[in-house]
C-alpha cells in the first residue's frame, strides 16, 4: 500500500515546487524549499534508501535552508518582478 503514500508525496512535491516558484517573497520560497527537501527525504525513505534520506534531511532541509535564509536576509527580500 506504500504506492498511495508515494503518489500523495509526489503530487504534494509538485504543488510545493509551484508554490516556491510563484511566491513573491524569497523568505517564503526558501522555507517552502525546505518543505520540498523534506518531502524528497520521505520519498527516499519510502523507496528504502534510508542513508540518502538521512543526508537529504540533514543537508537539504537543514543546512540548505539556513544558508538560503542567511543569504536572503543579507541581500534583498523580494524578487525584482
Amino acid at each position: 500500500m506504500t504506492w498511495i503514500l508515494e503518489a500523495f508525496l509526489l503530487l504534494f512535491i509538485i504543488g510545493v515546487a509551484i508554490a516556491a516558484l510563484e511566491s513573491k517573497c524569497l523568505l517564503t520560497s526558501s522555507i517552502i524549499l525546505g518543505a520540498y527537501s523534506f518531502m524528497m527525504c520521505l520519498i527516499y525513505a519510502a523507496l528504502g534508501a534510508v542513508d540518502v534520506a538521512f543526508t537529504e534531511a540533514a543537508v537539504g532541509a537543514g543546512a540548505g535552508t539556513v544558508f538560503f535564509l542567511a543569504t536572503i536576509l543579507r541581500t534583498d527580500r523580494k524578487t525584482s518582478r
Partner: protein, 263 residues
C-alpha cells in the same frame, strides 16, 4: 518569451516522462543493477558480490557504510575534497577581499567595540538545552554509522548545525569568540589531510592506497576488525571537514564575510 519558456519546459517534462517509462520496475531482478542475481538473466555483476561478501569481509552490517568507506573509499575521499573546495571557494569570494577591506577600514574609522546586542532569555535557554543533545546525536551518528543509517557526512552536518544554532540563538560574535576562525578554518583542511594520511599510511606499510588491511602490521586485529575500524577512522576525517565547512559557509554568508554581525 515567458510563454515560450513554459511550452519548452512542458515539452521537456513530457520527454523526461517518456524516458522514465523505459526504466526497469523497482526491484526488478532483470534490471542491470541486480545482474548476477539467481533469478536474473544477466551475467554476474559486482553488486551481488558486495551484498553476499561485504558482511563477511568487513563485519559492517550497514552495507552503505561498507561500500562508501571501504570498497569505494577513493570516491569518498574526493567527495570530501569537493566539500573542502566549496568551503574554500566561499572563503575566497566573501571573506578574503571583504575581510582585508574591513580590517583596513576598521583601523581608520570603524569603532573598535560594537554595541552589545539585544538578548532573549527564552531563546538562549532553548539553545542551551538543545546544544548538547544535538552534538551527542552527531557523535552517535558518526560512531553508529556501521550499524544504522548515518556516517561521517551526516554527522559532520549535524555537528556544524549545532554551532549554527549557537550563532543564531546567541550571536555570531560570541560564538566566534568560543570557536574562532583560526580554529575551524584549519580543521576544514585537517579532515581531508587525515583521510589522505590514512591512505598514505596504508601505502607506506606495504598495502594499496586506503587498503586498511595494511594497518594490521601496527594494530594486531583480525582482517574484518581492522577494516571496520578503518572505516571509522576515515569517517572521522569526513566529519571534521564537513562540520567545519558547514559552519564556515554559514559565518561567511551571514556576515558578508565581515564576521561582525549575525542574524
Amino acid at each position: 518569451m515567458k510563454r515560450l519558456a513554459l511550452v519548452m519546459s512542458i515539452l521537456l517534462g513530457l520527454l523526461l516522462l517518456k524516458g522514465t517509462a523505459d526504466f526497469p520496475q523497482f526491484g526488478d531482478p532483470n534490471s542491470p543493477a541486480s545482474a548476477g542475481h539467481p533469478n536474473s538473466s544477466e551475467d554476474s555483476h559486482v553488486s551481488v558480490r558486495y551484498i553476499t561478501e561485504a558482511y563477511g569481509e568487513t563485519h559492517v552490517p550497514n552495507l552503505v557504510s561498507a561500500i562508501l568507506a571501504d570498497y569505494r573509499n577513493f570516491d569518498t575521499m574526493f567527495e570530501t575534497t569537493v566539500v573542502f573546495t566549496a568551503g574554500t571557494a566561499i572563503f575566497l569570494i566573501l571573506r578574503l577581499p571583504l575581510g582585508v577591506l574591513a580590517r583596513r577600514r576598521s583601523k581608520a574609522e570603524m569603532p573598535r567595540t560594537l554595541p552589545p546586542l539585544a538578548r532573549d532569555p527564552i531563546l538562549e535557554m532553548a539553545c542551551r538545552v538543545l546544544f548538547p543533545p544535538i552534538q551527542l546525536f552527531g557523535l552517535y551518528v558518526l560512531t553508529h554509522g556501521h550499524y544504522s543509517p548515518g556516517g561521517g557526512f551526516q554527522a559532520g552536518v549535524i555537528l556544524g548545525a549545532s554551532f549554527i544554532l549557537l550563532a543564531i540563538g546567541f550571536d555570531l560574535r560570541g560564538t566566534l569568540s568560543r570557536l574562532p576562525e583560526s580554529v575551524y578554518n584549519p580543521f576544514t583542511a585537517l579532515g581531508v589531510a587525515f583521510y589522505i594520511g590514512i591512505g598514505l599510511l596504508c601505502l607506506v606499510l606495504g598495502g594499496n592506497f586506503l587498503d586498511y588491511e595494511a594497518l594490521r602490521q601496527v594494530v594486531p586485529l583480525s582482517s574484518q576488525e581492522i577494516r571496520s575500524q578503518g572505516i571509522l577512522l576515515v569517517e572521522c576525517g569526513v566529519t571534521v571537514t564537513v562540520g567545519s565547512v558547514i559552519f564556515a559557509i554559514y559565518t561567511n554568508l551571514v556576515s558578508r564575510g565581515l564576521h561582525r554581525e549575525g542574524l
